[in-house]
């Protein structure tokens, strides 16, 4: 069939055959080439025939034009024929009007396509054929189509050129781009601007500032272009130039220029075209290093007096009054724009700029609060996200007048809006006691209207309670009277009572001194609520310790007495007086704030953010995490913990947008932040002068948490690079040193384990490029000195700690994340499973595991009080080898206690691959090696059968 077609093709393409036949022949050639089943030889001979026919029909555009187009497609589909196509097309570049344009289009499509499975890139293929002279003459072609297509070609060559190959020397490239940016045709101008943009992007930071100047000047000229798309492209380019100015070495010298750019962008924000306005507001959000007075001007339509201190404006060539006039109220206009797209972006940019200046944030807040009444849901949602963003950056200072509008949103018809509003409320510092009370009332009304959102509302109440202990203390009596009737039962069915109990508990946990004023009764009421409130409180603690805490205070005997005091202790320690917002306001001056914002810039989430950008922002957050190390080391733990918390919140914010491949990285980052948080906490506890016994219990708990988390890091992310593993091992070693610190001496078992880990580190270092750190070396030396057996010589712990230094996490390559989800369907406190006490009970768990291989050893752990039961999960039994496997496991639990009802805690564990050092004391029926959790512990409610 193919041969037949080929022969006919040959015949019909004969110059003597009539025109219709030739066109039909082209159609069949297209079919041959486009058919994925055609063999390579067929394709290449079809292409050869076509190329020959080109020569046979000189000066017949009706045939040549489709033929050229077809050749271009062929070269893209079948890369091997590309060189001959390029050679065949080249003569046409000098040809007549349309043919030249078509020929350039063919080359452009080749440049744009990347060959499958490696091989020579399109650009390098072209580079061998196109010389500078030819390109220049094409760029100065009198035919606009040729110019626009040669631009396409150049732009794709900029984007794709490997460092070695380029079609043009940079200065000629820029010359052409700048020249065509003032072309007569808007299409060409726009393509040229996009080209300059690509040029700047590729050149990156090592571009000369005078070249940025040229690009910037060129773009500003085009601000008054009559074509809206050209204006949009110009705005993008100016924004890019602004970012490059800000990033350049002479950044401080550029501040005046940044002011000018900001004002120019503001004036574009008043453009009549919606597209231009969108670009302008996007660009405004990215500007940095702008003087505060200029920023403030963009929030006020009235021209503000320019403060005497700043000479910046007079020095600029721009007329002073015109300068302020064009900046005036850009955002006021932006937020009442006709198009919700513009409003959304203006709102987002407001949030970004708010991180630079407290004054700006305050003024912007007035505008933002008004936007909560916007008629577009997208805008209201973005406004709430902006507020959230400001709150995480300590820039949210609400006043009483705002609250009315804001709390109105709790009654919004959209669940999404209500949820987002509560999320902001969590972080809000309420200005006074009146507002506090009003807010509480609103939340209670909210709870009454939307009982299905109870969890979320309790969550907010918890945060408000712990952040406003002082307000609560003043109202405690009032609240008590309200909910505790002088005699008789308290009805927890009333949402109002439940909400107030939640408030009580949360503010007590974080403000220990309040506890004594609170009637014991409230704690005992809270016990029955524990199931509903542990989740909201769960940020720092788990259900179990909450129960212990409540029982402790309500003087109810708790089953697990040993655990009780310890847990209660832990509760208080993990809930220090961390008022999320009430921290001392940052007093940095403008410039250093701006510097900080350079980091923050990366962390801003963006709806259109690509994976690449998200990865960068995660990375920059991790960098910020590592930068807290000097603070931790110098015992400025308060400051460090604040930063870490912000990092964590930012990561959580990013998590809103993350799907797919990045979730592993995000999970990793979250774990990492948690580990550093734990280390920071321990470091603080280890201050030599402050050694006290009470802390020891907590330290033990912290150490166990740390080890668990580190194991998760090491084994829960297959595909991690050696460098990262080394990094984690260093941290694990640090954990050991902490333990030594506590114990003072080193047991035989620990020593063995330590040596095993160090040898693994050495192995990694030998294989890879990294070196053992000083810290690890010293530790190794001390181990060797200690020799075998119980060491008599204490470890030089403090010296070791001094040596430890946290390095940046070196990321490379992709890795996966092992995790699991565990569920018991249809089980909650209202619907417990029936049990006959003393007999085993069968429980069906729904399990979903991610990225588990059959060699991994997974366990299901079930615990009631002190009795623990392990079930091995044989993965081979469960079908599917995909990344995600779901299955159900029905397993009996034997040790059912003889109580009316009880709680079973279950979780999925993974065993660490053996390190040949096992602790013989471990329970023989359970995992032999160290384990780590793959999911949060879940609760299973059980009830004795005759109690139902």
């Amino acid at each position: 069939m193919e041969r037949l077609l080929l022969e006919r093709l040959e015949l019909h393409l004969d110059p003597l055959s009539d025109e219709r036949r030739r066109l039909r022949a082209l159609a069949s050639a297209r079919a041959l080439i486009a058919n994925p089943d055609s063999s390579d030889s067929t394709c290449s001979s079809a292409v050869d025939t076509l190329i020959r026919s080109l020569d046979a029909h000189p000066g017949d555009p009706a045939f040549l034009r489709p033929a050229l187009k077809l050749l271009g497609e062929a070269a893209v589909l079948h890369r091997p024929v590309a060189p001959s196509v390029i050679a065949a097309v080249r003569p046409f570049l000098k040809g007549g009007k349309c043919l030249a344009a078509d020929a350039v289009a063919v080359l452009a499509s080749i440049a744009e396509s990347s060959p499958e499975g490696g091989g020579e890139g399109g650009v390098s293929l072209l580079a061998s054929v196109l010389d500078e002279h030819l390109l220049l003459s094409l760029a100065s072609s009198p035919i606009s189509l040729v110019r626009s297509r040669i631009l396409d070609l150049l732009v794709s060559s900029i984007g794709r050129a490997q460092s070695s190959v380029s079609l043009l020397r940079p200065h000629l490239m820029l010359k052409i781009l700048l020249g065509l940016a003032v072309d007569l045709y808007p299409l060409v101008r726009r393509a040229a601007l996009d080209g300059i943009m690509a040029f700047c992007e590729v050149a990156g930071s090592d571009i000369d500032s005078s070249i940025i100047d040229c690009c910037y000047d060129c773009a500003v000229e085009l601000f008054r272009d009559e074509d809206e798309l050209v204006r949009s492209a110009a705005v993008r380019l100016v924004s890019k130039c602004g970012q490059m100015f800000a990033a350049s070495k002479e950044r401080t010298a550029n501040t005046e220029r940044m002011d000018v750019i900001f004002v120019q962008l503001c004036s574009m924000a008043r453009d009549m075209s919606m597209k231009v306005r969108i670009e302008a507001f996007l660009a405004l959000g990215k500007v940095q290093l702008v003087a505060e007075n200029v920023l403030l001007q963009s929030l006020s339509k009235k021209v503000l007096g320019i403060r005497s201190g700043s000479k910046t404006i007079t020095k600029c060539s721009v007329n002073e009054s015109k300068f302020s006039l064009s900046a005036a109220g850009a955002f006021v206009h932006g937020i009442e724009d006709e198009f919700y797209e513009v409003r959304t972006i203006a709102c987002k940019s407001l949030g970004m700029l708010a991180t630079f200046s407290i004054q700006f944030a305050d003024n912007a807040l007035n505008l933002l609060m008004d936007m909560l009444n916007d008629d577009a849901e997208a805008v209201r949602l973005q406004t709430l996200q902006t507020l959230f963003h400001m709150a995480t950056h300590d820039r949210l200072m609400v006043q009483e007048k705002h609250m009315d509008m804001f709390l109105g949103l709790l009654a919004d018809i959209s669940a999404l809006i209500r949820r987002a509003a509560r999320k902001v409320l969590q972080l809000m510092m309420l200005p006074d006691i009146k507002t506090f009370k009003f807010t509480i009332d609103c939340l209670i009304t909210n709870l009454e209207t939307y009982p299905e959102e109870e969890e979320d509302i309790f969550f907010v109440l918890c945060f408000i309670g712990k952040n406003h202990g002082n307000f609560f203390a003043k109202l405690a009596k009032e609240f008590t009277q309200e909910i505790v009737p002088s005699y008789g039962e308290l009805s927890l069915d009333s949402p109002r009572v439940a909400a107030i109990v939640v408030l009580f508990i949360s503010s007590c946990i974080s403000n220990e001194h309040l506890t004594c004023n609170i009637p014991v009764a409230i704690f005992s009421y809270a016990v029955s609520l524990a199931g509903r409130i542990s989740c909201p409180l769960g940020n720092a603690t788990n259900r179990h310790s909450l129960m212990a805490y409540l029982c402790h205070h309500s003087e109810i005997p708790f089953s697990d007495a040993a655990l009780k005091s310890e847990m209660a202790e832990e509760m208080c320690h993990s809930w220090p007086l961390r008022n999320v917002i009430s921290q001392v306001k940052v007093k940095e001056n403008m410039l250093s704030m701006n510097e900080m914002a350079t980091h923050l810039e990366h962390s801003q989430t963006d709806v259109e953010q690509t994976d690449e950008e998200l990865m960068q922002s995660i990375q920059s957050i991790l960098e910020k995490v590592v930068e807290t190390w000097p603070l931790i080391k110098s015992h400025c733990s308060h400051e460090a913990r604040r930063t870490l918390r912000t990092c964590k919140e930012e990561l959580e914010m990013i998590a809103w947008n993350v799907t797919g491949s990045l979730s592993a990285l995000l999970e990793f980052a979250l774990q990492y932040v948690q580990i550093i948080q734990l280390i920071a906490e321990m470091w603080e506890k280890l201050q030599p002068k402050m050694s006290h016994i009470v802390g020891m219990i907590t330290l033990e708990v912290l150490l166990e948490k740390l080890n668990m988390a580190l194991r998760r890091m090491r084994y829960g992310f297959p595909g991690l690079s050696r460098e990262v593993e080394c990094h984690i091992i260093e941290l694990t070693l640090l954990g050991f040193v902490f333990r030594l610190c506590k114990v003072g001496a080193c047991s035989n078992f620990m020593l063995k384990k330590l040596q095993a880990i160090i040898s693994r580190a050495e192995f990694l270092c030998v294989e890879g490029s990294s070196k053992l750190s000083e810290f690890a070396k010293e530790l190794l030396r001390s181990c060797a000195k200690g020799g075998t057996g119980e060491t008599s010589q204490p470890f030089p712990v403090y010296k070791l700690l001094e040596l430890f230094n946290l390095e940046q996490v070196p990321f490379a390559g992709r890795f996966r994340c092992i995790k699991a989800e565990l569920q018991v369907l249809g089980n909650d406190s209202e619907n417990p499973l029936p049990v006959v006490s003393g007999l085993p009970v069968g429980i069906t768990f729904q399990i979903t595991v991610h990225n588990i291989s059959n060699s991994d050893r997974l366990w299901l752990r079930m615990a009631v009080g002190v009795s623990v039961q392990y079930v091995f999960l044989d993965l081979c039994q469960f079908t599917g080898r995909d990344e995600v496997r779901s299955f159900a496991v029905n397993t009996p639990f034997y040790a059912t206690p003889k109580v009316p009802s009880f709680l079973l805690r279950a979780c999925i564990l993974m065993e660490c691959p053996s390190e040949n050092v096992t602790d013989q004391k471990k329970d023989q029926r359970g995992p032999k090696n160290d384990i780590f959790l793959l999911c949060e512990e879940i609760d299973v409610y059980l009830v004795k059968i005759d109690y139902r």
């Binding site: 110019r147 200065h171 003032v182 009054s321 006039l325 009442e336 577009a376 018809i413």
Partner: protein, 564 residues
């Protein structure tokens, strides 16, 4: 050529907008409004200034009406039917639909309520409207051989337009009333960058700078919500067109979001009919309404219920829209009498009330008792909320528009004298644009630049349209890429595009610009080449070489040799 601008109305005042502009022999009347504050001859523009003989048909090329407000269209039936203008009249579709409603309503009030002698009859209105040609947005209309007009979206009210007019090379824009910020049911004014000799703009708020509309909306919603949640009734007396729809959209949306179930009523009459038009003219509304129109027409208000009189005294909270806006009589007065005595109720007032109306009395201080006539008086105990919604742009918006269009000259109309003077000063000093604020019946003469048209050959056009990068390359032969990055090198990258050509002026023909290459051909002469023997001293020789290196043939034949 100059533009002559005769201001017949709205000069240093608000009311009876009417400007007659003469450009290039054409005479256009922009708007033909009446002044609502006068009942004597001052009510109408002094049309005799246009033509002493009263032959308006030859004196005017056309009339263009910007929108349906009476101070812009009120005098039209009088002018056409009574004074006899028969020429073309232009207005947008919605204006043509709505203007008769307005005129008819006004006529009824005048004749039936006040018992005045009628200025024009119902038939006059109908006949007048028959003469109207409709305009669409951004559609260029060739009124006659020389005059082009085009309408741009102006916001303000449904169908309001700004008018661009061009005769020859002279162009101008008359804005009518406009709004640079969108509201719930209308978009913001929108216009292209135009080359203008003159901009005539309204200046109602010449010195006011308004803050965001959200604040005004919030205050209104807060007041209404507070009242109804206290079980009160809200009376919103409004004008039937424009504000009524705006407020109703606002409430309807709020009701929807806050899940409120309290009924909203629309009193019958004009409003119902107007809503019908609004529903049909979706293309002229705001983006949001256009976007959601396919799913639900915003003007099909979800929470608006049919009203009947018996509901006035029904118990429970409600919201009622009633005309007229200033409680000067009619239904809004009837309801006001019933509801004003209860402190639970709320009455909103429009931003502006004419003296003598109840609205005006309520605005000035908080009276507890209002006497309607000798026998009837009302105890006012209800709450009063004054609205501050305005469909006019503020000073910032005017400045923005003037700056955007950057015309050579600005004339301010439709404003208050002292405020206009302030704005005029700002336009002149801050934007450097000539500005006038003429009083009524004054004429302003504006000089325009005279352009001489020349032809250009195709080849010349082509040479303008693209840059020749070869010249660049040749001029930088030794620039290597290692030196690229020096500021010196990059300065060369700066664009200076020079196009060279030769202007040829022949006696009878239009002047023409040609390329060097075409020049000889144009003159029908042959090219002569002059060659030289080099027999002069060395330094002169160098001079010669530099002459030759100026590539291309000599610019003109013959006399080149003599300069050397």
């Amino acid at each position: 050529m100059a533009i002559e601008c005769l201001v017949l109305g709205a000069g240093q005042e608000v009311g009876k907008s009417c400007v007659v502009v003469s450009i290039g022999g054409k005479r256009i009347m922009f708007d033909c409004g009446m002044h609502m504050g006068y009942l004597d001859h001052r009510r109408y523009p002094d049309f005799s200034l246009i033509s002493e003989t009263g032959d308006f048909n030859s004196a005017l090329t056309c009339i263009i009406i910007t929108h349906f407000h009476l101070d812009h269209v009120g005098a039209l039936p009088y002018f056409t039917e009574v004074r006899g203008y028969q020429g073309p009249i232009f207005m947008t579709y919605p204006t043509k639909a709505m203007a008769p409603l307005m005129l008819e309503d006004y006529r009824k009030v005048m004749v039936e309520r006040r018992g005045e002698e009628e200025q024009f009859s119902h038939d006059h209105i109908v006949d007048c409207m028959k003469k109207v040609t409709t305009l669409d947005l951004k559609q260029t209309v060739q009124v006659d051989k020389d005059l082009q007009i085009r309408a741009y979206y102006a916001g303000h009210v449904l169908g309001a337009a700004m008018i661009y007019a061009k005769v020859g090379d002279t162009a101008m824009v008359y804005t009518g009333d406009y709004n640079m910020t969108p509201d719930r049911h209308l978009g913001a004014a929108q216009i292209d960058r135009l080359q203008l000799d003159l901009l005539i703009t309204e200046s109602t708020y010449a010195t006011t700078i308004r803050d965001s509309k959200y604040a005004r909306e919030r205050e209104f919603l807060k007041a209404v919500h507070k009242c109804i949640s206290g079980g009160g009734k809200v009376l919103i007396p409004t004008f039937a067109l424009g504000r009524a729809q705006e407020l109703c959209i606002l409430l309807d949306d709020y009701w929807e979001r806050m899940n409120l179930k309290i009924p909203i009523y629309f009193s019958a009459g004009l409003t119902i009919q107007a809503n019908k038009y609004y529903k049909m003219l979706i293309g002229w509304t705001s983006q949001k309404i256009k976007d959601t129109y396919a799913i639900r027409n915003t003007f099909d208000f979800k929470h608006v219920c049919p009203f009947d009189r018996s509901l006035i005294n029904a118990s429970g909270p409600c919201v009622l829209f009633a005309t007229p806006g200033m409680i000067s009589g009619g239904f809004s007065l009837e309801v006001f009498k019933q509801w004003a005595p209860s402190e639970k109720n709320l009455v909103t007032l429009p931003g502006y009330c004419v003296a003598g109306t109840i609205g005006h009395k309520l605005m000035s201080g908080k009276p507890t008792r209002i006497d309607i006539d000798k026998d009837t008086h009302i105890d006012v105990r209800c709450q009063i909320h004054q609205l501050s919604f305005s469909p006019h742009t503020d000073a910032k918006g005017i400045m923005d528009l003037v700056e955007f269009l950057s015309p050579k000259h600005v004339i301010l109309v439709h404003g208050e004298k002292p405020k206009m003077a302030t704005l005029k000063g700002r336009i002149q000093s801050e934007l450097g644009i000539q500005c006038n604020d003429p009083a009524n019946n004054e004429t302003v003469l504006i000089p325009t630049t005279q352009n001489v048209k020349i032809n250009a050959t195709k080849m010349f056009m082509r040479s303008c349209s693209h840059a020749d990068f070869h010249s660049v390359k040749n001029s930088l032969p030794c620039l290597s890429d290692s030196s690229f990055g020096d500021s010196e090198a990059s300065n060369l990258v700066r664009n200076e595009k020079v196009v060279e050509g030769i202007l040829v002026m022949e006696k009878t023909k239009t002047a023409k610009i040609v390329c060097e290459d075409e020049f000889l051909q144009t003159l029908h002469v042959e090219e002569h080449k002059v060659q030289f023997e080099y027999s002069c001293p060395a330094e002169k020789c160098r001079e010669q070489v530099s002459c030759q290196s100026n590539s291309g043939p000599p610019p003109s034949d013959g006399n080149f040799s003599e300069t050397c």
